[in-house]
């Protein structure tokens, strides 16, 4: 069954099918949240929230809408809510050491690969929306069209955002390499 068919079934009341959607998406969502916040526990909680909302608001899923877009829309809204209510001060972003520590705390492998670590630090220095867009397009490998549905903007606008984010990322990365 396709994701869309599964979600339709859940919407009609067959809640058990949500388990299959969990199988398919929980890792993706977890990675999204952890890589955007560098907080394992937060990633855990927010992933759980996404599935809770999936069930509670199943009636808002428009049949035949792209499921991946819908679930990531929920994910980014949840993150946006968290971000808003926890008001992380931007000054934190400048402190490379703090971010580095966070990364160490997440996964040994993540921390051991120097270049990958630099990548994440470079990402952390981006603005939230830019991080999101890169995570969705480059890490999740979502098509521009699907991303456009999430943000309710045009595909062209997504492309511009991705390009800008990539360039900024490259600049950050180059700067960090010098350190």
């Amino acid at each position: 069954m396709t994701d869309e068919q599964l979600m339709d079934a859940v919407k009609q009341g067959d809640l058990a099918k949500a388990s299959l959607l969990f199988d398919r998406y929980h890792k993706h969502l977890y990675n999204f949240f952890v890589k955007i916040s560098f907080d394992k526990d937060l990633g855990h909680d927010l992933t759980q929230n996404v599935f809770l909302r999936l069930i509670k608001f199943k009636h808002t899923y428009k049949s035949e809408a792209k499921f991946k877009s819908w679930i990531f829309q929920i994910a980014r809204n949840i993150y946006a809510d968290h971000y808003r209510s926890n008001k992380v001060p931007t000054s934190d972003f400048d402190d490379v050491e703090i971010v580095s520590e966070h990364i160490d705390a997440i996964d040994v492998k993540m921390a051991n690969d120097e270049k990958e670590k630099l990548l994440y630090i470079a990402m952390y220095k981006l603005e939230q929306e830019q991080r999101e867009i890169l995570l969705l397009s480059k890490f999740e490998k979502m098509k521009y069209n699907d991303i456009a549905q999430i943000y309710e903007i045009t595909e062209g606008a997504v492309k511009v955002k991705v390009h800008r984010a990539m360039n900024k990322l490259k600049e950050n990365y180059l700067q960090l390499e010098k350190i």
Partner: protein
């Protein structure tokens, strides 16, 4: 050039443009370096570690799912709607019937217009006559609000339910119940038939509180087609002052 490199990286370039970029990347030291970095980043992202969540995540999910299934099975609304099953139809009709009762009980003075509503609802009524009769004696406004709330949380938001809500909005004897129906219908205000119903309700509503809420809704929806019924309200001698004021404001905002 920066843009082009990214497109090139994505594999989106073809023909002459592709050749152009390829040449420059190879020849021009600066671009070579830039492109190299982009490629490096791209590769890093492609190969980025896939983190594994703690097994407790799945355990918690299963627990939550089990709870939700348990809760859902106690509510008829959550079951799969099989239209061939008479039991399911009865349960939906019951919800509709509770709303219908509101029409009957509340509108002691509107006997004539009621006949028209009744013929439209004949189908539901015939099937649920017993239910209606037993509810007629004691149908409180509050439980009708409960019925409105339950009906739009039902997963099958289909025509029958929408029509029942539209009817409730227009004819229930209690303004709070009508407003609950307006709220429910607002969730689906993007659907043309619901939108039309909301616009025409504006012209026919007789409860000030509901008219005012509808006018405000139309302003928020930026629905220009509502200007006409609002003008009807302004011109109608029988309209209450406060509703006329609201309609004037509405017309001003929408024009």
């Amino acid at each position: 050039m920066k843009e082009l490199m990214i497109d090139y990286l994505d594999g989106n370039l073809t023909g002459e443009l592709k050749d152009f970029v390829t040449k420059h990347i190879e020849k021009d030291g600066r671009w070579k370096h830039e492109f190299g970095k982009l490629k490096e980043l791209s590769t890093l992202m492609d190969n980025s570690i896939e983190l594994t969540p703690d097994p407790s995540l799945r355990a918690e999910f299963e627990k939550m799912l089990a709870e939700e299934i348990a809760v859902a099975s106690t509510k008829p609304a959550a079951k799969t709607i099989h239209w061939s099953s008479p039991k399911m139809w009865m349960q939906i009709a019951a919800s509709v019937a509770i709303l219908v009762v509101g029409v009957l009980v509340g509108n002691k003075f509107n006997a004539d217009s009621q006949q028209q509503e009744l013929t439209a609802l004949r189908l539901e009524m015939e099937a649920t006559k017993q239910l209606i009769l037993s509810s007629l004696g004691n149908q409180s406004a509050s439980s009708r609000i409960g019925a409105v709330n339950a009906s739009y949380q039902m997963n099958a938001m289909d025509d029958d339910i929408v029509n029942a809500l539209i009817n409730t909005m227009n004819t229930d004897g209690n303004a709070n119940v009508r407003l609950a129906a307006v709220d429910a219908l607002t969730e689906f205000a993007d659907e043309e038939n619901v939108r039309k119903a909301l616009i025409s309700a504006l012209a026919t509503q007789d409860k000030a509180v509901v008219q005012i809420a509808l006018i405000n809704l139309m302003v928020r929806l930026k629905e220009e087609r509502a200007i006409q019924p609002m003008q009807q309200i302004i011109q109608d001698e029988n309209s209450i002052e406060v509703v006329k004021d609201e309609a004037n404001y509405g017309v001003f905002k929408l024009s």
